[in-house]
């Protein structure tokens, strides 16, 4: 069993991955595109010499990245297994970490996605691991807002009223409340100033509030048209002092098929995972995506996003 941590680095200044295509209201393209370009970038940066050509010159992508599967540097050149036994894809230069200004100038928001492929029982571990990585990357010791996204919940339907109704039956209330208690303790320790949830409709939110000790300060919702929030939800949020924030992520942000494609030997892959044709070339086993954390460091007084990125945790289970 190997723990794998994927990372994007700071995507704010890393080109087009951060630009959402018009008309798409929710997607994981930001995550997948920025992982892909960060893998390519690391492969270029850590290649021992200019990428070797295998005779056909290699096809060069329009942004200048070689995508020829045969010209990659060795896996250990651009990934790293650190002392904790975790395999970092790509390797991370922690010396480059940190914020540019005083911590007090920032609003730091994390959104932690629990993925449907991972067991709910391990969520406390995931929380700790995600926080550890972000805190190390930004060199901080507390988070302003931590939003959690539970699997199987969304806000979709032909109309907002319908979406709200369907939402009430989604997810797993008990698991969510149980997970929440781990978050509450972070709140009580002062590590997180505000807690939030994502995609909770009126009924689900009401039930949740009734059961938890520390109420969420934020409910992040995605509606096709942000101007039409179901009125009962607006009302409930207002009376409970919960901020309704927007987002455009999909709930299942890293399905295992996509993760396998990202790390596999295909034309868009990083060549980390072995497959039938490349049996000797890479890691073997089943890859289970467990969690994804998105972090954003926003400089409050200037309205500037200084740092935004993702970490994703996965487990490689040997067959």
């Amino acid at each position: 069993m190997t723990q794998i941590v994927l990372s994007t680095g700071n995507i704010v200044t890393a080109g087009p991955s951060i630009i959402r295509k018009p008309g798409i209201t929710r997607s994981n393209l930001e995550l997948t595109n920025s992982l892909r370009s960060n893998f390519l970038a690391a492969q270029q940066d850590y290649a021992g010499s200019p990428v070797s050509s295998n005779g056909n010159g290699g096809h060069v992508h329009r942004h200048g990245h070689p995508v020829n599967g045969n010209s990659r540097p060795a896996i250990d050149a651009w990934t790293a297994t650190e002392d904790d036994g975790v395999l970092y894809v790509p390797r991370i230069d922690w010396t480059a970490a940190g914020l540019q200004e005083n911590r007090a100038q920032y609003e730091i928001t994390l959104k932690l996605f629990f993925l449907p492929s991972a067991p709910a029982t391990k969520r406390t571990e995931y929380i700790n691991e995600a926080l550890r990585l972000v805190m190390k990357e930004l060199r901080i010791d507390h988070i302003d807002l931590l939003i959690v996204s539970f699997p199987g919940i969304s806000f979709e339907g032909n109309c907002e009223w319908e979406a709200d109704k369907i939402n009430a039956t989604m997810g797993d209330d008990e698991e969510e409340v149980r997970t929440w208690s781990a978050l509450e303790s972070l709140y009580e320790q002062g590590k997180v100033s505000r807690l939030g949830i994502a995609e909770f409709g009126t009924e689900k939110l009401q039930r949740f509030i009734d059961k938890v000790k520390v109420r969420p300060a934020v409910d992040q919702i995605n509606t096709k048209d942000c101007c039409s929030v179901p009125p009962p939800l607006t009302k409930l949020a207002k009376s409970e002092g919960i901020e309704l924030l927007t987002h455009s992520d999909c709930t299942d942000i890293l399905p295992s098929g996509i993760l396998r494609e990202l790390l596999g030997h295909g034309p868009q892959g990083a060549g980390v995972l072995a497959d039938d044709e490349n049996a000797q070339n890479g890691l073997k086993g089943d890859l289970i995506p467990e969690w994804v954390v998105k972090y954003t460091a926003f400089v409050n007084y200037r309205g500037v996003i200084e740092n935004k990125g993702y970490f994703a945790g996965a487990e490689l289970v040997q067959a």
Binding site: V12, T13, A14, G15, P16, I18, I19, R20, K21, P22, A41, A42, Q44, D45, Y46, A47, G48, S49, P50, G64, D76, A77, A80, R91, D93, T95, A96, E101, E107, T109, L145, V218, I221, T223, D225, C226, C227, S228, V229, E243, L244, L245, T246, H247, S248, T296, F298, Y301, R302, G303, V304, I305, E306, K308
Partner: protein
């Protein structure tokens, strides 16, 4: 522009030197100023018209001074932090002060700004529109019942033969010597007539503001401006038209008021430090022509339809003080150099310390005052910034007051400001004022004022958000500065917003910085990889429509993402509540639709208004009757907007093409939901 302390106007002997010394002093004091907050301000300018249903024509009201006095005398207004800073001490203690009002060049104009600068809170951005409405309401309350503040860029009948002001004054006065407008058209403060007179004096003739006429079915060709009087003999300058100042097919105007009497929408941003200020200045520069075309609102001059849609070049010509030698019409003898542009013109150079600023982007023919530059360099200023200021210093200070020359006060910036504020480029880089804690600022100046406060708020908020996206994503819009000039010209064409193409950078994203090679780890990245080859500058940009720049492009050649998707992506990455996001989307939608052509610019709407008017004879003439209807429509739109009652039942042609369903009155807050719009 503000009022100077009253003084005696003088010639300019060594004012340049004093300005340069003050500049160095300011720069030295403020160059390390850090961590200033993002604050910004907008300026809305109004025409004041006198309109009543019964009067045959609508007139410009020249009661600016009385209106300002009434505003200054309003105790409730001043108690709440509003008022007229030029006439009174405006208290700034109030945490939510009322707006403040300022005089402008035209005596028929008024400027209003928020009582305090805006911050960057997203909810705060939504207060802008309400504040603009409050400004208009307060302004109106201090006018006569038949006076109205309207936000048309220019008054269609300014300078026509006969009566167009109230009260009436005859033209051909000693200061302006205009055959079309009276001296009393300008703010009577000594600065303004002196400015106009000195520009004329320096030029050696009157300014020449010629706009191509729009040829309609029955417009004669060639067309000779029928309002030009060739038989006037009051002033030597009356010879100008006899010497060819009024060519065929051009609407001819001859005074500063035809330009400086235009209303603009200007936005000023405070940067965190000088580096960020310089970066914003450069990056916003290429956006100027795009926003000029997108806000086009000026199709009429002096009672005729023009063949251009925007005000810019008219202002440029209205304050063009270049001598015949500087213009290149005569060999250089007394003037120091030939100067390709008016002192009101698009930017001529870039100033950022950004390594992406390639030498190829500069204008190789930039004119600068080498001795000023040498002194600035000697004082420690870097080459780029010294070049920028040495370029501004090629202009004379135009208005100098006797009292200012008595001694040089380095704790003040009056000499420098005097020069800086009469250099009207489409961006302005503003050093911190002496003796204040204000930071380095950048002013974005090309936008035309829009008819409604909704539109003015939309463009202001859009500009704020695009600056935040530029800084966050480290975007790069550099193109050669001469291409920005060309774009500025392109933006003038009738319906340039849909029909013209502009040079714009294809890929706005930063180059990836390779991981550093530091550290002794054997697996450290190596630097042997050659840096990515630098492509020719010509490959970096392409011709794009405004729609492509704003909404994104899917052409073969490039996939420019579009400024609106960039702003949306910025908003995706910040915490913003649903209601705020919805309201911000309304603003972005307006801009999106204006760029795509789904909605019309004010210029296009006004053209259609004129064309459909029963009094219009297809001869390019916009008479009193048409103007009265147009102003009446604009007043009605404004009153509906103030009341928040939507447009339903309003008898204004093509209003839906101008404003779509925006602020149409559906729902309590007047926000039309896009879901409703689709039905």
């Amino acid at each position: 522009m503000g009022l100077l302390a009253l003084g005696t106007a003088l010639d300019w002997p060594d004012a340049q030197k004093r300005a340069q010394q003050q500049l160095l002093e300011i720069w030295n004091k403020a160059k390390r100023k850090e961590r200033d907050a993002m604050l910004w301000g907008d300026e809305v300018e109004y025409l004041v018209v006198r309109y009543s249903k019964d009067a045959p024509s609508v007139l410009l009201s020249l009661r600016q001074a009385d209106i300002l006095k009434a505003l200054a005398a309003d105790e409730e207004l001043s108690a709440k932090g509003g008022g007229v800073p030029d006439l009174q001490d405006v208290k700034t203690h109030n945490s939510n002060p009322l707006p403040v009002f300022h005089p402008e060049f035209g005596r028929f104009m008024l400027e209003a700004t928020p009582g305090k600068p805006w911050g960057i809170g997203f909810k705060e951005l939504l207060e802008v529109e309400a504040d603009m409405k409050t400004r208009r309401k307060i302004a109106k309350e201090h006018m006569n019942s038949d006076e109205f503040p309207i936000t048309l860029t220019t008054f269609p009948r300014l300078g026509v033969p006969g009566v167009f002001t109230d009260p009436y004054y005859p033209p051909s006065g000693p200061k302006l010597r205009s055959q079309f407008v009276p001296d009393e058209i300008a703010n009577p403060h000594i600065r303004f007539p002196t400015l106009a007179a000195n520009i004329r004096w320096r030029r050696g003739r009157k300014v020449q503001v010629n706009v191509p006429v729009f040829h309609d079915e029955k417009t004669p060709n060639p067309w000779k401006d029928p309002s030009v009087n060739y038989d006037l003999h009051n002033w030597p300058e009356d010879d100008d038209v006899r010497n060819g100042a009024a060519p065929d097919n051009f609407i001819h105007m001859d005074a500063m008021a035809f330009g400086m009497g235009s209303c603009c929408l200007q936005i000023t941003f405070q940067a965190k430090n000088i580096v960020e200020g310089r970066k914003m200045y450069d990056q916003l520069s290429p956006l100027g022509p795009i926003l000029l075309a997108l806000t086009a609102a000026t199709p009429i001059y002096k009672g005729f339809l023009a063949d251009t849609d925007v005000r810019w070049n008219q202002i440029s010509r209205a304050v063009d003080d270049r001598t015949a030698e500087e213009l290149g019409e005569k060999p250089l003898k007394n003037s120091r150099w030939r100067i390709p542009k008016s002192r009101y013109a698009s930017n001529s150079t870039y100033i950022s310390t950004d390594p992406r600023l390639r030498p190829e982007y500069f204008d190789p023919n930039l004119v600068i005052d080498e001795s000023i530059k040498a002194q600035l360099l000697e004082g420690g200023m870097d080459d780029l910034l010294a070049t920028h200021f040495a370029h501004l210093f090629i202009r004379d200070p135009i208005v100098i007051f006797n009292e200012d020359l008595e001694q040089l006060d380095l704790t003040k910036a009056d000499h420098f400001e005097n020069l800086q504020s009469t250099n009207w480029q489409h961006m302005r880089f503003k050093p911190p004022p002496a003796g204040s804690d204000i930071g380095w600022r950048v002013e974005f100046r090309p936008m035309e004022i829009q008819i409604t406060d909704f539109e003015n708020a939309a463009f202001s908020v859009f500009m704020v958000l695009i600056t935040r996206a530029i800084l966050s994503f480290d975007l790069n819009f550099y193109i050669p500065i001469v291409k920005v000039d060309e774009n500025m010209e392109t933006a003038h064409a009738r319906d340039a917003v849909l029909d013209k193409k502009f040079y714009f950078r294809k890929n706005p994203f930063p180059n990836r910085t390779p991981r550093s090679a530091q550290g002794s780890n054997a697996n450290s990245p190596v630097t042997s990889r050659p840096p990515s080859p630098v492509s020719p500058v010509e490959d970096e940009y392409a011709l794009m429509t405004v729609d492509e720049v704003i909404n994104g492009s899917k052409s073969e050649e490039h996939d420019f993402p579009g400024l609106i998707p960039i702003v949306e992506s910025y908003l995706d990455s910040v915490n913003v509540d649903v209601q705020t996001r919805c309201e911000l989307s309304t603003y972005l939608d307006l801009i999106r639709k204006r760029a795509s052509g789904e909605l019309w610019t004010a210029a296009k709407w006004i053209r259609h208004f004129v064309a459909k008017h029963p009094a219009y004879k297809r001869d390019s003439v916009v008479d009193d009757e048409i103007t009265k209807s147009l102003v009446s429509a604009v007043i009605n739109i404004g009153e509906r907007e103030q009341a928040g009652t939507g447009w339903k039942g309003l008898d204004v042609p093509d209003l839906a093409n101008l404003l779509g369903q925006f602020r149409g009155g559906c729902g309590g807050n007047g926000v039309k939901r896009s879901s409703d719009e689709m039905n």
